[in-house]
Symmetry: C3
Subunit: 348 residues, 3 copies
Amino acid sequence: MDFSVQELAAFVGGQFAAGPSVEARVHRASSIPEAGEGDVTFYTNPRYLPALKTCRATAVLVPDNFTEPVPPVAIRVADPARAFAELLERFAPPPVAYPPGIHPTAVLANDAEIAEGASIQPHVVIEAGARIGARTVIGAGSYIGHGVHIGADCHLGPRVTVAARCLLGDRVNLHSGVVIGGDGFGFELAADRHVKIPQTGIVQIDDDVEVGANTTIDRARFGRTWIGAGTKIDNLVQIAHNVVLGRHCIICAHVGISGSARLGNHVVLGGQVGMVGHIELGDGVQVGAQSGVGKSAPPKTVLLGTPAAPIHEMKQQYARVARLEKLVQRVRRLEEAIKTERSTPPAL
Amino acid sequence: MDFSVQELAAFVGGQFAAGPSVEARVHRASSIPEAGEGDVTFYTNPRYLPALKTCRATAVLVPDNFTEPVPPVAIRVADPARAFAELLERFAPPPVAYPPGIHPTAVLANDAEIAEGASIQPHVVIEAGARIGARTVIGAGSYIGHGVHIGADCHLGPRVTVAARCLLGDRVNLHSGVVIGGDGFGFELAADRHVKIPQTGIVQIDDDVEVGANTTIDRARFGRTWIGAGTKIDNLVQIAHNVVLGRHCIICAHVGISGSARLGNHVVLGGQVGMVGHIELGDGVQVGAQSGVGKSAPPKTVLLGTPAAPIHEMKQQYARVARLEKLVQRVRRLEEAIKTERSTPPAL
Amino acid sequence: MDFSVQELAAFVGGQFAAGPSVEARVHRASSIPEAGEGDVTFYTNPRYLPALKTCRATAVLVPDNFTEPVPPVAIRVADPARAFAELLERFAPPPVAYPPGIHPTAVLANDAEIAEGASIQPHVVIEAGARIGARTVIGAGSYIGHGVHIGADCHLGPRVTVAARCLLGDRVNLHSGVVIGGDGFGFELAADRHVKIPQTGIVQIDDDVEVGANTTIDRARFGRTWIGAGTKIDNLVQIAHNVVLGRHCIICAHVGISGSARLGNHVVLGGQVGMVGHIELGDGVQVGAQSGVGKSAPPKTVLLGTPAAPIHEMKQQYARVARLEKLVQRVRRLEEAIKTERSTPPAL
């Protein structure tokens, strides 16, 4: 992008106080703490007001009612976040386009079916019986196992693995390094050794799911590990065998979900949450970061802590533990009072 | 599989009440919560009884003494889990076979030694001095470093890295995305900068070890990082330099073990456990999920929490913390009683 | 290495008591718990004294003032750790050299610029507009996206992804499986569905940064996710969009840093630490393993626990919680005392 402040204000439909800086040029979008000369930024969260007061950006989009004096030229708009998002979209570099076709270095089984408009990038391997849907991109170095079915308009980043027989819907987005369909972690102890329990099921991923870099989703012991439509999974998440996630869930980075756990729709798990197996979280359950969930919870519950409890209880508990020293002091005073009481003859 | 209920009962050697449904056909195995028409499932855990009472499966394997009325046809067997496992094994799709030979797209050093029956999949790289044992499969896109020795009957999934000089025994199973032999994380602070400490050791993995997808095991500072025979490691685990794991351990997903820690045999670490470096856990130690282990522990200890303590102490501690509000109220009542005591002249 | 004990002592400039073992030969370096015949080890940490007393090493480097009788020949030096490190360096296998040039199986865009001395290993993909600096090694199977710039003397292990437009300085070291520039995890809820917020920024990694195996660093929503010079990141770490790390930080394994968090210089995060987004840690802040950081902290703070607090407070809190049973007993005694007090007529 390359704008004068005046042109920028016109683009976002904003108001600004006239001044000498209106001819200054803006060519980049940045956050408040990072912005320098030539940058436009935006302000909505009061947490960033101190930073804005020393910000070296050339211009800042602010809410209509913002009146603080700040170094950048303040351009007032109804919704600064939305106006900034529109700017970004307008000036973002175009997304990389992967032209249709099969790269000559890709290795495809004779009976692999590649639909029209699909793009098979270099060094991809597609095994027997696999099907790739229309306009789907398979990133460089990815491995698509025997009998895998992938829908239309999917995007697999470089170096993704989808192992045998797993199923992906349409518009599924797998980032680089994702592993779908590794064996579930199941062993039986026999004569002091762990004997592998065959993991003969699959992973099924429904439409519009996104899976972050290096996340792993294991195949089921039998039947399927199942990710519902519209669910979004962050990086480095572990989803064990036979787990079922509902639709439109949000699973943050480093979450670990143990075998056969079930989540309803619109469940949100914060970063580093752990869940034991064979439990169920109802629709709309939310779990705070780092919590350890050991029991099922009804719809809409908000959980926190290890072992996880309803968030208001856990916050009270944190507060009580932090005040424990005061409680100890109160007990000490009581002990002294009792002692005095006992050693003093009652006043007559 | 495709059975009538009657044929199914015969196959598992089970009893069922005659009725019109005995001709209904079963063609899939599912868990209770997922099962629908045409599915067979099994029941052992009373936790699933409510789900079984509304289950739409066609048939369910139940224990001999099970008498509850449930929608599916109940087939009574001595051990439903075992009977179900046999069904699964009998009807599982055959595991993918990778025929012996070296794919023409693989890049092998002249002096790499590939034993008879080994299968080197597409786009594999095998460096100088490496040796691959008989019948071992090296998955597509894997990288086998200089001087690596891999035993017989191993299976490396697609996109595995085994870096220079690391050693694998026989029947080792590495899932997709595993990285063996990255540098240990060792630096020395010199004049405010971190200077890398050379990591010149190796990783040694003994027979019958399984390592889950995207797990990382770092090479030793010197000597070896060592994984004992029969140990099973889940996905996304981090094992640091010079760690030693004994035989037949179970290490669940997202565990992090810091440098030079040592585990005995048959140690079990739950998901997301963290261990500081230079400590030792004796044979048969078990650590609950998400615990943070900061000290060595003798054989057979069962630990929980952060900082980890013996599980019964930690469970009592959790209970005491949960009851803290009651303790505060008791102290408040005592304070009021003392106050009354003091302001009331003793009864004469 | 292959030494007599006498030659070894000469090499490290150490003193030893003469005896029959001085002709024994040493050919390997090991840690105390692992050392056997033919090994040299070293001793500095009293924690290892019991192990040293039963150690089967042939020789051990010990401090000048060490006088305990131990089985190995004790060679006294001023700084055993340093002398041992010199031994290791002298006898370490030479690091693997990757000769300059472009492997014929690599797939390079016509306009990719590869500087002199760079080594492009087998099955690498380098997209249009990318530039690779002098003497940089791109490991087998790595993917370098459109417009990526990588400096000189970098080392990328096998199977690394650097996605479109990301920037790497000089001497950057990315271990196998690293993913730089996956999309940030950003969605907006619209009519009950999560709509992807375009992630149009980049990742910028400055000089001398090291990143461990399978770590993921997401591209910015806009602007850049930025890793300062000299910072070292361990395996399986997640760094979200728009995070800024200062210079010379140490980030241990499994750490998760949420979006737009900012770290100063020389910050140290222990293993499995989690940080919420939009907070700032000042220069020199240190955070203990497994902590959950929910608030900004001024320079030099040392934090521990979840929610994280200054370490001395948190350690006191742990101690108080561990002693909670004693507090309960004290309260019980007080209750009994009060009861007695009340039921006993005052002594006259």
